[in-house]
Structure formats: structure tokens, C-alpha cells
Point group: C2
Amino acid sequence: MTSAETGEARGAARRRSGGRSGHERNKGLQQRPWAQPRLRYPPTPVVSEDELELIHQASLRVLAEIGMDFLDAEAREILKTAGATVEQGSERVRFEPDMVVETIRTAPATFTLHARNPEHHLRIGGDWMAFASVGSAPNVADLDGGRRVGNRADFQNLVRLCQMLNAVHLFAGYPVEPIDLHASIRHLDAIHDLLTLADKPIHAYSLGRQRNLDALEMVRIARGVDEATLHREPSIFTVINSSSPLRLDTPMLHGILEYSARNQVVVMTPFMLAGAMAPVTLAGALAEQNAEALAGMVLTQVVRPGAPVVYGGFTSNVDMRSGAPAFGTPEYMRTAMIGGQLARRYNVPYRSSNVSAANAVDAQAAYESVFSLWGAIMGGVNLLMHGAGWMEGGLQASYEKVILDAELLGMVAAFLDPVVVDDDSLALDAMLEVGPGGHFFGAAHTQARFRTAFHEPIISDWRNYETWEEAGSPEAAGKANGIWKKLLATYEAPPMESDIREELTAFVERRKSEGGVATDF
Amino acid sequence: MTSAETGEARGAARRRSGGRSGHERNKGLQQRPWAQPRLRYPPTPVVSEDELELIHQASLRVLAEIGMDFLDAEAREILKTAGATVEQGSERVRFEPDMVVETIRTAPATFTLHARNPEHHLRIGGDWMAFASVGSAPNVADLDGGRRVGNRADFQNLVRLCQMLNAVHLFAGYPVEPIDLHASIRHLDAIHDLLTLADKPIHAYSLGRQRNLDALEMVRIARGVDEATLHREPSIFTVINSSSPLRLDTPMLHGILEYSARNQVVVMTPFMLAGAMAPVTLAGALAEQNAEALAGMVLTQVVRPGAPVVYGGFTSNVDMRSGAPAFGTPEYMRTAMIGGQLARRYNVPYRSSNVSAANAVDAQAAYESVFSLWGAIMGGVNLLMHGAGWMEGGLQASYEKVILDAELLGMVAAFLDPVVVDDDSLALDAMLEVGPGGHFFGAAHTQARFRTAFHEPIISDWRNYETWEEAGSPEAAGKANGIWKKLLATYEAPPMESDIREELTAFVERRKSEGGVATDF
């Protein structure tokens, strides 16, 4: 651009400071409005239909011939009544292929996950996407304070940040585990924070029946609905991890029993590291993942036909020299995509994750995350867990990574915007007006559109080197640091009716006075 | 993994130090063997077939109604003879749609680009991919020396690095412009370096007829072939940029005239920044890109039916507040993918690029590059320019970025490896052996495969936080720094027969004594 044109651009920038339709200047950050992205492109098939069938058939053989250990007697009894075979004097349950295939037919292809703010309800399934915060990290870090063990203050800050970021649609759990809250009452305070500092859908950890029910009751209160409505409208989700290979433990099974019975969302997620708790081959790891996912799905439908369930995949590899888990790898990408093919085969929503094994918010953190997003998005993910903030293979939630990921998720959403092809966008008149050797900046067509034409980044610095160097050679992580501080400084809690707030507080206090949930772990 | 298993893994690692079939330990770096990746997945269609047709038709209208300025009289004459309309007393050339569509039919769908080392010949087109080095940067940088103007010593180092990296298949030009070589003889010394320090295919800048012919002659000598063979076997390529909008200048036109006539490769690449030299809408920018690409392709086929030509796309957006070019954006990704759809419509190979606007090798450099790779790869790229080393929107070649990009390209190649699905990989026997609650590390199935099961990273650090912190909290850019130093320390020039070396040297010396090419720019 000529200097005159650059000056014109800057003048235009000053004139438009009063609001841009494409990006919001509220919440102290230029960001896209809240919306659920939709996958407008065909998902990428990594294996053929025939190969997919082989994986499916192998899973059915696993369930029929090897079976799975269900560590809870009640769950075994329910499955036995539904036609599974429980080995006498054992926890082993086997399933006939037909029973598996027929039982999962009732799982819904799409459903709505309700938030306490109706504007934040989420469509789960089909081509809809929902991006979650990081969840379950034991440690938290930021550039100034360094790394420390999870605590309530940081937990609350991460909840505030994720509430403010439109790219984050729901909470994957506790962004960081607030271990300064006693385990017996932690869920009460943490969920109270999630429901008051934010108004997006939340997750409950399946750590026993009572915690699941407490969480559900708190969501009921926060939504201001009665129990009948709650059981009609999925309002909370829980991630159920199998103990791979081929085991489901009691707390996880109770999670299915309690939540599926009440029409709440189960995200059935085997966690596989090829070569460790799964075969070292990707097809084998996927066959095992699929078997475990199918078994969990069967239980949800046996408990309640039509209960919402999400097919979860979380299959990666290890570094074979050290045994360390690796994330965002070429293996991870392909299993993420094949997992999506499997979920679509069963016509249920698909869960994948944004992951990285990096210890610092550097190039590795970025490329591992973008590669895992590539795998998830082109795998047709519906529920993207750990979308914002995950570091260290899940052992750390990072403030700066929350911001970096918000950048990545915003770019993904913009990538999914359709490219409009019509007479107006083909711009023949503009090309005629400008002509060979001309410039489009001054053209009417450009002037009418440029303010909202392109995605605006949160972090990306596009200044020339000299200008950037004069500004202190800022790098991405440092910029993210400044952004989260600014965001938190402008944070405002979402509104909550005072009677609801009182009822929620009263519930928490009552349950705490009762000792919460007796904790032996 | 248990500590016993970790110990076993480490023992296994010691035992296997004597060679891994999947990765080479030569060249001082663990990397995949040299190979051209193939796109095994369907490219992602961003627009529908109907929308693609609208873009195509709009381009034909541009060429028929507006036309393009061809600044060279010889080129205009050639086109006129072939049926284009040259406006009297003007440089304007217009094309009838039928003439365009018919003329480009002779462009080959695939061809081989020959290297002086036959093991480095490249298939261009179809589902084959070739990754190039960075090209044309005016500055160079590394973490120790900082940023400096391009010079021959750094140029040579970057050539050496790209020669050693199996992920880099060819040279996109001069990795950095060696401006300490006088412009009149620069091409002679630079190409001499490219042909002696490396043995991968090279590029010639179209800066006038004589430079093109000098480059071609040097390649002929280096390949040890006669002129008839050279004209049968494409052995060099040139990137032809239009002066957008809708102009082709004389040096670029001469590039087409000289190279297409001799069956050498033309990569016809309009460079569009939406809102600047192209319409601000993506469809409009693509219609203009397509018109310019078609016009260049027409000229190549008129000069010589069957001359190898690549459809190049390089369309991005600007930051509308500053006018700064932006790279690796959601706009860039979608135009990269649609460009691929267009190239496939014309049944010619497709060129895209790995790009970033970052000034430091930080998270931004990584995510912008991976997003642009996502766009290129899923857009069906055949020739990926600037695959390794590009920073600052093309104004800088970075040593560390070369290594980071080698990591990214290696991961992409591994991502494109097929997932084998057969009885062996489905591992039912292993699952039966291990059983519920077991562990796969000790299984025979795992032991037989783990050494080569997974992609090994170059940079990614998967150590736990404590170990990583004790090691000084190394970050990706610093690790890349150590890696390029180690690589250069082990560099060995590829062999070259002494008579060829003498002939090449003699040619360069003769041409220099003749004054090279008189330079008025």
C-alpha cells in the first residue's frame, strides 16, 4: 500500500472505533460473537468404509470373546437382564454382536445441552461444534507466578477467563483442580463457582453417586427449573473414562447409572496410549477404544433408551524411549479422525480434544495444539474437550495457553465460515473499475466491506520487524499474558436472579454442614 | 508405565541404537528417510462444484472483457497469433473463453522435475507432494546472531541445512538473497552453490533471458546431460508472478518464453492480497487469481503445447487497520484450498506455501505455519513453496524456523502415512493375551513393533515438567538452534564427478569474465 493509502486506512480505523458488526469490542477484547461453529466441509476419511467395518467387527469380537470387566454389581445385573453374559463369580461381561448393535440404535444423533443462560444452550451432534475449556489439570501456571498446585483462586480466575471468551462454549470440568478445597466438599464450592462466575454448561466428575446428584441439583437450581424439566432437558455432562484395557470402575459406572437414568449427558471416553494400555498399532488401539466406547454406550441405552451419549476418543502414542505420553502427534491426528468416522457410523455425537505435551507456551505448544485441532475438526468433532488452556499433557492449565487457544479456536471458527460466491463477491464490477495495474483499496466495493471483511486476531502480531523490535520484540506468550490480565480486569459476573442465588448458596451450605461426601480417596 | 516397564523401554532403546528402519540416524538427526508424501485423503472442498464454476466463469469474463496487460511485445505477438485480441496501441490482451479452455488442455497433469541426483527426482502432480525450502528472503536471522541482511555465507548455510533435511525436497529460490554478490553475477555464484552444496532440484529467478539461460545451462552441466535430454526432461523451475491486478511484466514474460519453449517448469503464481491488489472478497480475489493464472498457463501452452506448468495460488488478506499483509489466516487457508479445487479442475499440479507473518520463532510462527499447512495439504498441494524457513511474511529466512518447519513437515508426512487395518494390526490376539486390566508393553505384539511404531519428533520435548525444568526449561526455538548447529557441524557435500565440477566452475568463470548480466535494476 502507498503511504497515502495507509494513512487512509488508519483514518478509516479511527472512524470505525464505534463498533464493528463482525467483532465485539466488549469484554475488553476484539473477538467474534458467541456462536457454535458448524463443519461445512466433509470430514476427512482416513480409512475406507471397508477398513472401518473391520475395526467395528474387531470391536464386536472383543466384546463377545474377551468381554469387559464391570466392577460394579448393579451395572452387571442391569446388563445381564438386558441380555449380556456375566461370567459367574467374576466381573467379566460379554456381549453378543447383535445385542450391541441393536441396543445403541436408541442413542440420539443430536441433542441440546442446556445452560443456565438460554443463550448459551449448545447443540451437540450433527455438524455442530462446541469448544470446552481445559479440565482436570492438577497444576496451574502463568508467566509471572510460574507453576503451582491447583487452588481455588486460580480456578476462579480460569473460570472467569473462559466465561469471557466467546470461543469457549462450556466447561470441561474444573479448569484446574482446587485442591485447597477439601475433597469432601470440593464439588460443592467448585460447582457453585462455575454456576455463579459463569453461565455456560458445566461438567460433573463421576466420583460417586452423591457427587453426581449434588451437581445435578445445583444445576437444577441454577437453571430455575423443576426436576421434570431437568430430566427432559440434558443440563450437565460427565466424562466416563474406562480403565483401559477393558475395565469400567465403580465410580464411572455409577456416573452412567445416575446420569443416563436422568437423561443427562455421558461422554464415553476410553483413554488409550498405544503400546501402553492399548495395542501399539493404531488399528488395534482403535479396535479397543471402539469396544470400550460401545460397551459404555450400551449401558447408557440399557439404563434409559434415548439417553444422550457422546462417543469419545482419546487415543495417542507414547514416546517409546521414555514411556512419556505424546500429544498432538501424527498418530493422535489419525486416531482422532478415525474416531469421528466411527462415531458417525453409530450416528452419535463425537468428542475429541485440543492437546499438547509442551511445558512452555512456545512453538511446540502451538503446533501440537493446531495439529490436534486439525485432527479433531476434520474428524468432525462435536464436543472438543480441553479446547482452551491445556498444557503438559493435561498436567497443567496455563493462563497464557487459554488465550493462545482462544486465538486458535477463533481462527478455526473463521476458517469454517462459508466463502460466499455470488455476483457481489465475485466483484467483476470492481475489477472493471480498478483495471490492470490499479489498486483496490480505494474502490467502492472495498470501502463498503473492508471493516468486517477479515478475521481479527487476538495475539498475532503483523507489524514489520523494525516496528516490532522497537516495541520490545514481544512474543506470543507475553502478549497472551497481557491479554488475560486485561480481560480479568474487566470481568463482570453474569447476572443471576437473587432467589436463585440464595437457593444455591443455601444448598451448598446445607450439604457442607452434612459433611459433603465422605471421602476415602 | 511402571518403573520396571520404563526401565525395559530404556534398555530396549540402548539395544536399538544400531539403526531404526523408520528413521535415519545419519546426518546427525533422527528423521524419516527421503520420500515424497502422497495425499491419501480426499482434499477438502471449500466451495461446491457450482460455486467453483462461478469462479471459473468469472475469470473467463475478466479475460474476455477486461483483459490483461502483457508488457512485452513478443509475448503479445505470440498470443495474437494464437487467437487472442491485442488492443491496438496498447499492452492490453483479451482472450475468448473457448480459446482459454482449449489451449490449456495440453498442460500435463503430472511430470517429473529432475535433480542432478536421480534419487532426488520429483513427481509433480497427481497426489504427489514436494516440499521446498524458503526462497527469496532479503534478510536472515538466527537466535545468536540476530537479524542481518542476506549474504553468501548465510545463504550457503541455509542451502546446506536444506540439503541435509529429508523433509525438504527442492529449493524455492535462494533461501536468502546473497546481496554481497553483485547483481550482475549473483545468479552464477548462487546457482553454483545450490548445485554443489546440494543435489536437489533448483529454481531460477526470471530476471531476464540471459539469467534464465545461464541457470539452465548450469543445470545441464550439473546433470551431465546434453541439450536434447534437458529439453525432454524438465530440470529447473521458475516462479512467474503477475503484477496484480492483471499485468505481466517483461522479465516474467521472458521467463515463460524461455522456459516453456525448452520444456522447463513454470509455476504461474499470482500474488493477491485481498483489499490491496485484489478485491476484498475472497471469491473476487480468487476470480482475479484464476484469471491471471489461466492467462499465464495459456501463454505456456501457446509457446509449447505440453510444457509443464503449475497452477500457483498465493492469496491472503491484509490487516485492514495497518495494511500489513497477514499470513496463515483463515482467509489464507480457504483460498489455498479453493485454489487446489481450481487446479484440479484444470487438471494441472497445484502450488501453495507454508507461511507466517511472525517476527520471532514463537507460538505465532508455529500456528500460522501449521494453519497454512492445513490449508495447503488438505487443498491438495503438489508443490509447497517456502516449506522450511519462512518468517516475517517472507522478509526473513530463519535458521531456527528451518528446523521448526522440518519438524512440521515430518509430522505432516507421518500424518499422511496410511493406517494399516488388517488382522495383524487389529491385534485381537494381543488383546486376548493381555486381557482386561493388563498392560501391552510386555506383549509380544508390542515388543515386535514398538521401535518403529511411531513418528519421532525433532524438537518436541515430551519430558515431564520437573525433568524439563531441571534441564533449564528449554523452549522450542532454543532447541531448534542447537539442532541446526549440530547439523551443520556434520554436513558433507553430496558427491559430484570432478569433470562436471570443473565444467561448472569453468562456465561460471567464463560468464563472470564476460560481466555476467548487465544489471540496471
